[in-house]
Symmetry: C2
Subunit: 338 residues, 2 copies
């Protein structure tokens, strides 16, 4: 059996080995991804992002546990967790998180946890994450949780991989007007206020609702419509089920398991919404297109670079270094001369 066949047959050790190859972007990893690709497209990719201190890792654990509990008439889903921390060069946070997780979820063959703490280029990190997610998807994990730290563009780009994005906040972090990042709210499908037993939870929820009104202006149209109860209004199209999703806010205390069932309920409702509205397919296509573009750019650059004379490149580079030729002008000369 090849490594890919073993992974498709459910071999955990083979999967672990394959994930390393993908993460290292080795030729074997790239070849395996091509073979695995036809088996992908079934997993529900759930991004979970939030600032340090919001208890995001513990929330992700609880969501995984909830999906693993046997429920009447349902087979528990297989859950993969990909934890990405682009800013840690030491995998310190990731390793710490893993230890806590291992204690919590270890021994369950339906759960697979993988941490990444690469500090390569952003494009590289997003591409590696996409590869890991595809491997989990092909290996039959129905729920794939992608956990990212913080609220930077790196997290936003990784969250774009997901079908459903949870943004986690916590009370006492929103004193500063800038602390609640409007940009991150825009990508939120579900907002979670974790550590909701802490003082200030009302303020956090109020601030989030205010920001949501700004970030999702269509929501305001929908609200105004509630007062003009005329079904003929074109704004009615914006209702849920007609392609419109109003990001709900859910309070949780993940250390006690409070609110977890509700969060999973909202994730599932969002999945139904995506499937019914055609948004699932739209997000899938956007993701594949951006992956294709990433590979195209890399290939075009390396093909072009290999055909270029060293002397020509070096003399142009020197002109740039000597401030005689602007980088953009240098690029134009190099591309159109070659």
């Amino acid at each position: 059996m090849t490594l890919v066949e073993s992974v498709l047959a459910g071999d955990r050790l083979a999967l672990s080995r394959l994930l390393s190859r993908i993460e290292n972007n080795s030729p074997e990893g790239r070849a395996a991804l091509k073979e695995l690709f036809p088996h992908t497209g079934k997993g529900h990719l759930i991004g979970v992002t939030g600032a340090p201190g919001t208890g995001k890792s513990s929330l992700v654990n609880q969501i995984a546990r909830y999906y693993r509990q046997p429920r009447s008439g349902e087979t528990p889903r297989r859950v993969a967790i990909v934890a990405v921390d682009p800013s840690s060069p030491f995998t310190g946070g990731a390793i710490l998180g893993d230890r806590i997780r291992m204690r919590d979820l270890s021994g369950d063959p339906g759960v697979f946890i993988r941490s990444m703490a690469s500090r390569g280029s952003l494009g590289g990190l997003a591409a590696a994450t996409a590869g890991l997610v595809q491997a989990f998807d092909a290996a039959g994990f129905e729920v794939i949780l992608i956990e990212t730290v913080g609220a930077g563009q790196a997290e936003v780009d990784i969250a774009r991989l997901a079908h459903t994005t949870l943004v986690v906040e916590a009370p006492g972090m929103g004193d500063d007007i800038q602390a609640i990042k409007a940009g991150i709210l825009e990508i939120a499908d579900v907002l979670v206020i974790n550590k909701a037993d802490r003082p200030g939870v009302e303020n956090t929820e109020r601030a989030l609702r205010g920001m949501l009104d700004l970030a999702h202006p269509t929501r305001r149209v929908f609200r105004q419509n509630e007062h003009h109860l005329s079904p003929a209004e074109p704004e009615m199209e914006l209702q849920e089920g007609n392609g419109f999703w109003q990001p709900p806010i859910q309070r949780t205390v993940s250390t006690e398991g409070t609110g977890i069932a509700e969060v999973v309920g909202l994730i599932e409702r969002h999945k139904d919404h995506l499937l019914e509205s055609g948004e699932w397919q739209r997000r899938e296509r956007a993701r594949l297109l951006s992956e294709l573009q990433h590979h195209l750019q890399l290939l075009l650059f390396s093909r072009w670079r290999s055909g270029l004379s060293h002397d020509n490149f070096q003399s142009t580079l020197d002109a740039v270094f000597n401030h005689q030729l602007a980088p953009q002008e240098a690029a134009e000369r190099l591309v159109y001369q070659s």
Copy 2:
């Protein structure tokens, strides 16, 4: 006079107009950057990054004010501030920050402030910031402060533009082990603990020193060397002035102006170190090379795309969307067939 000539002659209105064209990546903006490029290379680019709530904007203001104060025997330097907030789609934070700044620094013709809150691709944001910085440099601003929010990869990439990078922390934000981001410490040339009149400042400084030992292992070698006082030791090469810079930690209370003179002193000492060690030129070259590569990738992609038949691209894309062909394989076919 052309717009570029006006900018070089010190016309603020012309500069403001030019900055907009650069930010919008208009053809006029790109043409102007080519003309301006031979005039660049003199400004000291200072990156200032830190989490929301650290008082980073107020610190940047104070640094700008300090550079503007007349000192005996010295002409005050001209200061530009570029404030970048990649996560804000509303420029809310940026606008607020500008208002406070305007009150503080307005009327001084030696100061120019520009805010950016683009949510384009990360590469686009870094490229636009690089363009603004070049315009300020060519226009004769000797000190260019680039302020970024947070600690994500976006900030790291933008900070890479800078000759000198300040990382700003504040007491009470480092309770969480993850709150002090090791990745961001690695790019720090000067560490500032702002709001140093707050309780917990000793803990913050201790945590930072601990993280610095991890992030700069060479520093540990240097320290060990202090105990073996043998000048013959090869580790002695790592001392300051021989290409080694030990990031200092400075406490400030920017609202009261405390510690600002010391921060500026450290910035200037770092500049001297860069110039003496050859690191100034090395950073400059790395920056220009990465800018060149960015333009090359864009040009190569657009040249290739324009020569491609629509039908061929669309049928390959459909195969990807139908999960028949992996994105990487599709990219290979498209590039090597065309």
